[in-house]
């Protein structure tokens, strides 16, 4: 049975279904429905909804709950995620799994409240200070807003790395029919490292990111990077659409991938062989899918709701062997299928 749900509510519903019982947040548009859903639901399922005094406090409450070994999450939007940078870096440095949701809006600064993808760099390159990465997932449908949640928690716990769902105001606010996920009741995995009281049965656990001896700190970072390597080898996610005979490849994720899909259908009607590779995991970036497909086509077009933040990742994936073009709108503007179609036609006519 399918249920009609708003993206933000679907995501929140899925978090509860995935066994998350601890949500710490702070109000910000356009993620509001996630907090509201949690405020309504958590008391009924014996969970915690806590409205913190700031984004900074909220992420540190997540840090505490994750350190104690439970599934915990926070959600925010772009300016709020900047405030969480400190806590995310500490969590990465303390090897704590947790879920951070960014329902992006236009920036920089207070920016706007309309949908945007302008936090791609922040999410995939530098969510905070120091040498670290977090898992980043970009849903493109309300169903994926649901499906990514359990996957993000599971993968975060498997590798002891924080995870982010990088959505945007459009996916958060739109409604689509969804199939509800299965309910998980228990904690997904045992966490012998958690700081939750040793019960006089083991040595004390210490959750810490401070190492004053540089070679010790280097060793820990190297160990973490070995895990990142494993993640890059095994956790890439991408969807391919009409790539079998494609001569042009669009790379787009999230809401802009929906626009690109519309443009591709129209271009195909006009006889232009264009397809889509849609990164679902933004980190690890789906290098394999982008490279294997990208080296078969004449042109690559990146479509984003920002000034071209993913372009370099695509260039690197194809090792600059195929020209990479860009079409984007920013500031909360969404490219129209017509704009994308025009760009496709322009590129197709040039490469003839």
């Amino acid at each position: 049975m399918k249920v009609l749900m708003k993206g933000n509510e679907a995501l929140a519903h899925a978090a509860v279904s995935a066994g998350c019982r601890h949500f710490f947040g702070y109000p910000i548009t356009p993620q509001t429905e996630i907090s509201a859903y949690m405020a309504k639901t958590m008391p009924k399922v014996g969970g915690t909804y806590l409205q913190a005094e700031s984004e900074i406090a909220a992420i540190n409450m997540v840090l505490g709950a994750a350190a104690a070994g439970v599934r915990a999450m926070t959600s925010s939007s772009s300016p709020g995620i900047s405030l969480k940078a400190e806590g995310i870096s500490y969590m990465a440095g303390s090897d704590l799994p947790a879920l951070i949701v960014n329902v992006q809006r236009g920036g920089p600064g207070l920016g706007g409240i309309q949908p945007s993808q302008s936090d791609y760099w922040q999410a995939t390159k530098a969510t905070g200070h120091g040498d670290f990465q977090i898992l980043v997932y970009a849903p493109s449908t309300v169903q994926e807003m649901m499906d990514m949640v359990g996957h993000a928690f599971d993968t975060a716990e498997k590798y002891r790395v924080p995870a982010m769902i990088l959505a945007d105001g459009m996916l958060g606010q739109m409604m689509e029919p969804v199939t509800l996920p299965e309910e998980k009741t228990a904690e997904a995995s045992s966490k012998p490292w958690a700081a939750c009281g040793h019960d006089n049965k083991r040595e004390h656990n210490v959750i810490n990111s401070l190492y004053l001896t540089p070679n010790k700190l280097e060793d820990l970072v190297l160990e973490r990077y070995a895990r990142y390597q494993k993640i890059q080898e095994t956790e890439q996610m991408a969807e391919e659409y009409k790539m079998e005979d494609a001569e042009m490849m669009i790379v787009a994720y999230g809401a802009s991938a929906r626009v690109a899909r519309g443009a591709i259908m129209q271009a195909r009607e006009k006889g232009i062989k264009v397809g889509l590779v849609r990164p679902i995991s933004l980190w690890p970036f789906p290098v394999d899918a982008v490279r294997s497909n990208g080296q078969k086509v004449k042109d690559i077009l990146v479509v984003e709701m920002n000034m071209g933040q993913m372009v370099d990742d695509v260039r690197l994936a194809v090792e600059c062997r195929t020209p990479v073009h860009f079409l984007g709108r920013t500031g909360g503007m969404i490219p129209s299928p017509i704009e994308v179609l025009k760009k496709i036609e322009e590129l197709a006519s040039k490469s003839k």
Binding site: T48, M61, V62, L63, G69, C196, H198, D199, H204, V206
Partner: protein, 248 residues
């Protein structure tokens, strides 16, 4: 042979890094003695803050978490909400608790978060080498107030217990001192009460301990205690500023 004096079980065997004459060691010991006496080490989760006491995660034998600067009360909130049966305490200095972490302190207090806060007030930033703290006294010379703290430009010191005593969520706000045996005993009593309050689900308890920093004050340990008595105690009077029991 009968043992007449020993290290509390709730302290590890690690050698502490604190300077000679610093009162952190005394307060660590008191917290550990209280954990032993209340038999709570197995349920306890300590939150280390940023500053000289950051490495207390190596000294307390209970489970420990090191929090970002100022965020210990928020981290403690996360732990306590996740594991309500745990006994959660933060151990914070004045820069951590009363400057960068003021919002986290005030809001954990006003929520009545059922945690215990040990607050070390030595009127200076120790770890970074002696800069002005939010609790640095008017006229006090530090690295960043080389001509003495001028309240016209640097602002006034902050009295935390007095401020937090106005909040409904606070079960205990008490300022103590470890300058002599009598006060050490009073301090232990206050710390024990702050933990007992948590066991009794009474809400937020804070014990502010006036402390010395001989290294950064540029005084000997003995001179430091005298300076504390003559300068800090008049500005930060000892006493119970709020006690749920007294208000019944």
């Amino acid at each position: 042979m009968a043992v007449v004096f020993q290290k509390p079980k709730a302290l590890t065997d690690a050698v502490m890094h604190y300077c000679p004459g610093c009162t952190h060691g005394i307060v660590h010991r008191l917290v550990a003695e209280v954990m032993d006496e209340l038999n709570i080490e197995g349920r306890a989760v300590g939150i280390a803050s940023v500053g000289c006491s950051v490495m207390c995660y190596d000294y307390f034998a209970c489970d420990m978490i090191q929090a970002p600067h100022g965020r210990a009360p928020a981290v403690a909130t996360g732990v306590k909400r996740a594991k309500p049966d745990s006994v959660v305490f933060t151990y914070q200095g004045d820069g951590d608790l009363a400057a960068i972490g003021t919002a986290e302190t005030v809001h954990a207090a006003t929520r009545g978060e059922n945690i215990t806060v040990i607050f070390i007030n030595n009127a200076i930033y120790g770890m970074t080498g002696g800069q002005m703290a939010p609790t640095t006294l008017p006229g006090q010379i530090t690295q960043t107030t080389p001509y003495g703290r001028d309240v016209e430009t640097a602002g006034n010191p902050i009295r935390i217990c007095e401020m937090l005593a106005t909040l409904d969520g606070v079960a205990l706000a008490q300022r103590v001192n470890v300058n002599d045996v009598k006060n050490v005993r009073l301090t232990k009593k206050a710390i024990k009460k702050a933990f007992q309050n948590q066991l009794d689900k009474k809400g937020f308890s804070i014990v502010e301990v006036l402390s010395t920093c001989p290294t950064n004050w540029g005084l000997s340990p003995v001179e430091s205690l005298k300076w504390l008595e003559e300068n800090m105690m008049p500005y930060y009077p000892l006493g119970v500023y709020k006690d749920w029991e007294a208000q019944k």
